[in-house]
């Protein structure tokens, strides 16, 4: 993990580290990535977050590991 600077946290999103402002919620992160929460499934530290309406109250903390997945073409 790279060192966070003051006012920032570093979290891992889909395998890559990202810096974001301290206190951001999952909803803030998705908005910044221009992802519609209804089109994805999010797993945080190995646990699926089933209630999308709770994303605004899920505060991201240092060293969180998020997986943001969706359906793609496959057979």
């Amino acid at each position: 993990m790279s060192e966070a600077v003051a006012g920032e946290v570093v979290v891992k999103v889909n395998g890559k580290e990202r810096r974001m402002p301290d206190g951001w919620s999952l909803a803030d992160l998705l908005a910044s990535l221009e992802i519609d929460a209804r089109t994805v499934v999010v797993e945080r530290n190995g646990t699926i977050l089933r209630d999308r309406s709770s994303f605004a109250s899920v505060e991201l903390v240092a060293d969180d590991s998020l997986e943001i997945v969706h359906f793609v073409g496959g057979g």
Partner: protein, 271 residues
């Protein structure tokens, strides 16, 4: 090019509805959504195939947005039955994780379970497959298990709770057609749950011969998507699945090693 004129309206009825885990489906042909040149082509091909069940994969969102990968912008979940797969998973725990993520998308609790055991052949790891089938069935999933054409594994998958067993015709993406019709027929004869041949169908005659074995359905992807004209091939596959099904229901004539004339042998001139 419009292919609507190629699509048959089936006039023959099937005495047995195609039912999996209590859910009746309108087509015995299920299709994948991978490898198409464009999403528009994929949709046109799926429409031409007449398929209702459409498989999709679970993958990370591309955060750099380099590709338009999200499939639900193009597939109406009210019109198609989405069947998530666990393709790319090489052990039971990964497959279980992908299945859980897919279910959390909120469409259904069905999963086409793949636990792959070998990178080169993509043949299944049947031990991991059985473990994952048991675990996911316990969690309330409806498991359609992709497996090889081995009867004993198929029987164990049924015992483990699979709602359908999906033996391969030949390896995924190979287009080799059905390598062992005896094995497929034996599996169909012995299982109570639907048998859906998954993988290996390369062209319409392959699909027809598979259905003539009496199996309940076929799932294919590359056989359509990798054709020169995927939309036309999708229509051909639809016709082939229907033809093979009706040929099975009709019951083929016995094979004979000698010729038997079709025309009368009496009434010949000069007799």
């Amino acid at each position: 090019m419009a292919h609507a004129d190629l699509i048959s309206s089936a006039t023959l009825t099937d005495p047995q509805p195609f039912v999996i885990a209590g859910h009746e489906f309108r087509s015995r042909l299920m299709v994948g959504t991978g490898k198409y040149a464009s999403n528009a082509q994929m949709i046109e091909a799926i429409e031409a195939s007449g398929a209702e069940v459409v498989t999709v994969a679970v993958r990370r969102v591309d955060l750099d947005r380099s590709k338009d990968e999200a499939i639900l912008h193009h597939l109406d979940p009210d019109h198609f039955f989405l069947l998530a797969n666990t393709a790319g998973c090489f052990n039971a725990s990964d497959a279980i994780r992908y299945a859980r993520l897919a279910r959390a998308a909120g469409f259904n609790e069905w999963v086409k379970l793949e636990v792959i055991g070998d990178q080169q052949t993509l043949l299944p790891d049947t031990i991991g497959l059985l473990d994952a089938t048991k675990a996911l069935t316990d969690e309330g999933f409806k498991v359609l298990a992709y497996t090889n054409d081995d009867l004993v594994t198929a029987l164990k998958l049924e015992d483990a709770g699979a709602v359908a067993v999906m033996p391969l015709a030949s390896p995924i993406g190979s287009g080799l057609g059905m390598l062992n019709p005896y094995a497929i027929r034996t599996i169909k004869a012995r299982l109570s749950v639907p048998v859906i041949v998954d993988a290996g169908v390369g062209t319409a005659s392959d699909a027809c011969v598979v259905m003539e074995q009496g199996v309940d359905g076929i799932l294919m992807n590359t056989g359509i998507a990798a054709a020169q004209d995927p939309v036309r091939m999708a229509a051909a596959m639809r016709l082939a699945v229907e033809a093979g099904r009706h040929a099975y229901l009709a019951g083929r004539m016995p094979r004979r090693e000698v010729a038997v004339p079709s025309s009368p042998t009496t009434g010949m001139l000069g007799s």
